[in-house]
Symmetry: C2
Subunit: 317 residues, 2 copies
């Protein structure tokens, strides 16, 4: 899985950063999910490796314009460009359905694919055999959801060669070993399934904070995550602005990531005030502020990517 | 006045052309007007000479997304960037008010400037001492307005030196001459005001078709215009597509411009199908198709400008 950023600014677009939009790419499955869809997200897509036709699900954290105003245009273009495209699922907070309905009524778009819109509440949002998506309500000026995408543990591969060497005849006994059961061969030898199955592959966990002050809900949701994408609109020196607008500072995000045992932290949703390299506080300073607390921190840029590697368990664990 | 294009494509943005947005710049007044506001118009603005703070009025032709979905984001950014900015007037078709209201309710934006939204109908839309804006209903799949911006004729400048030479004492008689009245000097000399006032400056006329099939209403509105900005989504070879979608071909737009006595024609709102220079019909071919009928035709590009010069009347007219 790879996280690729389409917009990493806050409020209004600048020439350097678009407003919010984050892709989560499932390379093997040839599909990707989008978290938030600020205005111009479809424009950014044109310059990214992600194809609009392979977009499978959209998750909206909250209904502020810089996370939302690109949504209907993107849905329309997905239809216009692809004709009868694959179905799409859209998840978001209460109110998203009304927004969608009225915009569609006023400015009719004929979507040539099935679209399912689901209003989310805290808990499980989506689940299939590979992955589970859960969400919690973060702490912002409007209802804002943080989403966690957690892969399920994959059972280890069956070691056919080992079974052959142990004299197991191919057939139903293979299946029993695969399921981890104990079997007895014709000569009375007892074999344990676990000895014939490779190490299970642990699932990865990625959490998207959306817009939020530092809060317990996001800290709990982010527990032991491989990657936490957390907003850091401000530096700690502008803490007052952060409080007033319901946002986090880089220091607070790093502190929360430490407390949650997050392996890697990626900050985003930056105020444009730190972009001036001649200014007395730069983006480098913002990064240093976070790294002083959580060394494994990076800053997102538009079109930057963060791969989330699968951690292999050692034999002892 | 200068027309500067922010988006010249149709339907969905491409890397070369954004969706619709056209600026009309009043250089001396330090303000500009926007005709249509597709998604990403505020992004294009960042790369243009126009300042969001100097945006004075917005005219929406119709409620299709590629002319509308950038509106609320642009309104929000105008507030976010400037704080208490100058008032703004927004004109558009019925339904725009509901769209505006529901989006604002769902995704609240606190605009820090007065915004007046006016639903237009055929006739005079706006008038001040310098200019008059009128509109007509064009012919599209949804109600779509074409707008004409017409400057009023400016009376000629008073020729003070001439009056002095003729022995007119400064004072009330100057005023009478300025108004074109006849005066009599103390020595009985009779003077005509018209002889002391320069040539009047004729007003310029610019017409924006919006999305439309070729139609009588736009032809009438565009009568004798200095510049007609007309959509030409398709080439004549794709006439069938144009009919099906309620659009014009380049040939049709040129024909209409000729019939209306338009001095200069600028085509826009192009289908992306002609962008492939290796294809069997290019944008150059589209231009040639129009120029065969109206030689004074140009194609709009994103960020291209068309100045509208003031035509000076000769002494005889």
């Amino acid at each position: 899985m790879i996280v690729t950023f389409l917009g990493t600014g806050s409020g209004a677009p600048t020439t350097r950063r678009n407003v919010s939009g984050i892709g989560l790419r499932f390379l093997q499955a040839g599909k990707w999910w989008l978290f938030d869809c600020g205005e111009g997200t479809q424009h950014q897509l044109l310059r990214s490796p992600m194809k609009i036709s392979q977009l499978d699900k959209i998750f909206i954290t909250h209904l502020h314009g810089d996370h939302l105003y690109g949504l209907i245009g993107l849905l329309a273009s997905r239809s216009l460009r692809n004709g009868e495209a694959a179905p799409l699922e859209l998840y978001g907070p209460p109110g998203l359905d009304r927004y969608f309905r009225v915009v569609m009524e006023t400015s009719p778009v004929h979507l040539q694919y099935p679209l399912q819109l689901k209003t989310v509440s805290e808990g499980i949002v989506y689940e299939d055999e590979d992955v589970i998506v859960t969400c919690r309500i973060a702490k912002h000026r409007v209802t804002s959801f943080a989403y966690a995408v957690t892969e399920k543990e994959k059972s280890g591969a069956f070691q056919v060669e080992l079974a052959k060497q142990a004299g197991v005849p191919s057939g139903p006994l293979y299946g029993a070993l695969k399921r981890g059961e104990q079997i007895t061969l014709a000569d009375g030898t007892v074999l344990e399934g676990k000895d014939f199955v490779g190490e299970p592959q642990p699932g990865r966990k990625i959490v998207f904070s959306g817009d939020t002050e530092p809060c317990v809900a996001v800290r709990e949701l982010a527990s032991e995550a491989d990657l936490l994408v957390h907003e850091a609109t401000y530096a700690q020196r502008d803490k007052e602005l952060a409080v007033r607008s319901g946002h986090s500072t880089a220091q607070e995000a790093a502190q929360l990531a430490m407390e949650a045992g997050v392996k890697q932290l990626c900050l985003t949703h930056f105020s444009p005030r730190y972009e001036d390299e001649e200014g007395d506080f730069s983006m480098d300073d913002l990064l240093a502020e976070a790294r002083a607390i959580h060394p494994c921190t990076v800053l997102a840029d538009d079109f930057s990517s963060v791969p989330i590697k699968r951690e292999r368990k050692t034999a002892d664990t």
